[in-house]
Subunit: 341 residues, 2 copies
Amino acid sequence: MRFNTVTIKDIAKALGLSTSTVSRALRGGYEISEETKKTVTEYAEKINYRPNPIALSLKERRSYSIGIVVCEIANNFFSQAINGMESVAYTAGYNVTITQSHERFDREVLNVEHLASRSVDGLLISLSSESADVSYLKDLHKKGLPIVLFDRVTSEIDTHKVIADNFKGAYDATDYLIKLGHKRIAHFTSSAHLSVTGERLEGYKAALRDHGIPFNEDFVKFCGHGGINQEEIDDATKELLALNERPDAIFIAQDKLSTGCLHAIKKIAPDYFTGIKIAGFTNSNVVDLFNPPITAVRQPAFEMGQAAMELLIHLIESKMPVTEFETRILQTQLIVNNSKY
Amino acid sequence: MRFNTVTIKDIAKALGLSTSTVSRALRGGYEISEETKKTVTEYAEKINYRPNPIALSLKERRSYSIGIVVCEIANNFFSQAINGMESVAYTAGYNVTITQSHERFDREVLNVEHLASRSVDGLLISLSSESADVSYLKDLHKKGLPIVLFDRVTSEIDTHKVIADNFKGAYDATDYLIKLGHKRIAHFTSSAHLSVTGERLEGYKAALRDHGIPFNEDFVKFCGHGGINQEEIDDATKELLALNERPDAIFIAQDKLSTGCLHAIKKIAPDYFTGIKIAGFTNSNVVDLFNPPITAVRQPAFEMGQAAMELLIHLIESKMPVTEFETRILQTQLIVNNSKY
DNA sequence: ATCGTGTTCGGGAACGATTGCACAAAAATA
DNA sequence: TATTTTTGTGCAATCGTTCCCGAACACGAT
């Protein structure tokens, strides 16, 4: 604000009052006469006075703004979740600051620290695929920064969490593939230490087990960078194709991996598409337009964002320190041929 | 920052110095003895001191942060542009704050004003499809807020601008369709008062003219909300299908409209796809997976973001008031069958 | 006449950092 | 030895706002 130099002082000077009186008049302080209040508010209105949020932040040590950290906004799941968060924050009078970690731990730390030093009142974060050590977050949380984890969470931090039912989503997708007659189902997933990776892997295994299909280690491909670089996916695909017994279906655990895998197959072995069935987690709005059709496990991203923001604001505005935390689990949807299955 | 209470005062007290000395020692002031400097910096390091950006913003009336306003982050073009902006800002020591207008004028104004009051050092903005009146931006610009417009610009504001060569992009796409043998080419576009709409429409018209094809008013469909609601697109599609002489190709001027149109046709008249050719502006990373294949006009979004941020930072850091402004025009690419045409 | 008791307002200290100016002590010069 | 210069440090104002205290005044009760 190098401009908008209308301050409370200007009002005070113009009206022959003190800054304290003006401040109280504007805040509706009970100790100010109706008349003064009227004069002040009318004048403030006239000269278009806006309180300086920076000065307020310095004084109040809060900012009415909330920090969001995701790995990529160019990811349908996250952009939808952010929209959900915004919608709740907006009505509650908070602003949001969106940052991206690009799946890198150092960027994540930098973002979080910058947000914290900027006095965000709270933090919504989905961990990067590199984030194995979350002690920096833990410290901040201990110092009193309200945090709500969503999507990629960690048991290291005791706070509210919002996740999709990853186990069930993975189970349903795998189960669907099996019921279509597939028996050799591969699994593409991301970094092994992400919460979602484990949960989805378990769902996949459980579905196999329930149908008496043996689990094959070779069929599981971890792409540590979560689809950030296509090369990783290409390599995994090649490995799969090099197997004696090629898989006849693939279940993919991540949005970017799903499209990445389609690209890879299309590029490396387009004929392989015939007969193979692919199901994967994705919140893309255009899955129904995909040529090798894909069965989508869709997360309620918008609702997850809303829930996370609601929990965070509750945490921020709670008078008492909150000690009971909840993990909200939202159900996924299996989308087959553009309709709910 | 309700925690991280390590301030310059704490250091001063602990070391028996004044705050001014500590400040100067940390800043590397030439007037401080080497010994004191060392003591101070070492102690600051030890207790992990971080200067409070809020206090700095208040004092310096700048924040080393840059505001970005786009209509939707869930749009490939914008998320890619944002990545370009971030990359430049990051190396120059600036942070970015991303906000969304959701194609609404009131949200845009709210975002801009919030950013300005938060002392952003500059603003990068692509106008919403509702933004006909930009006087609020003009005022801010006059007051000294550095602004760079990108993508959807306006001639109302005299400043740096970064756009794609929309005319040529549209011309190339239309020309491509014509050369494939199509003569009845419809045009889907968004709000009429957006700069990009006009430029792309002109490119479309010019290509028709150059090939001696008459311009048909009925073939042009304006979707004012830019693809935010699918209904609008469905209606436009129906109108097109109801024509006596149905178009045999469509050129689409917007990312969301392109996919929206594919959805519409797929839903309303799937058989219509046979023989019809679609070309459209889109920065989707998955166009090659689309079933009704689409010829894409791809904007160099990342580079546009970089250019815009470079120009803005230049504006911010310029000692002299800048009076000469440039409009940087970047070339689009026609992507046919997943490769540059 | 004195003492509460409101009511309405102003003074001034915070919040964290920078910085012009003043001032001391030490060093250099006359 | 006296004076000037250099060097290192502190004081206090500033940014815009809030809020604790206290001041001034009026009014009714004692």
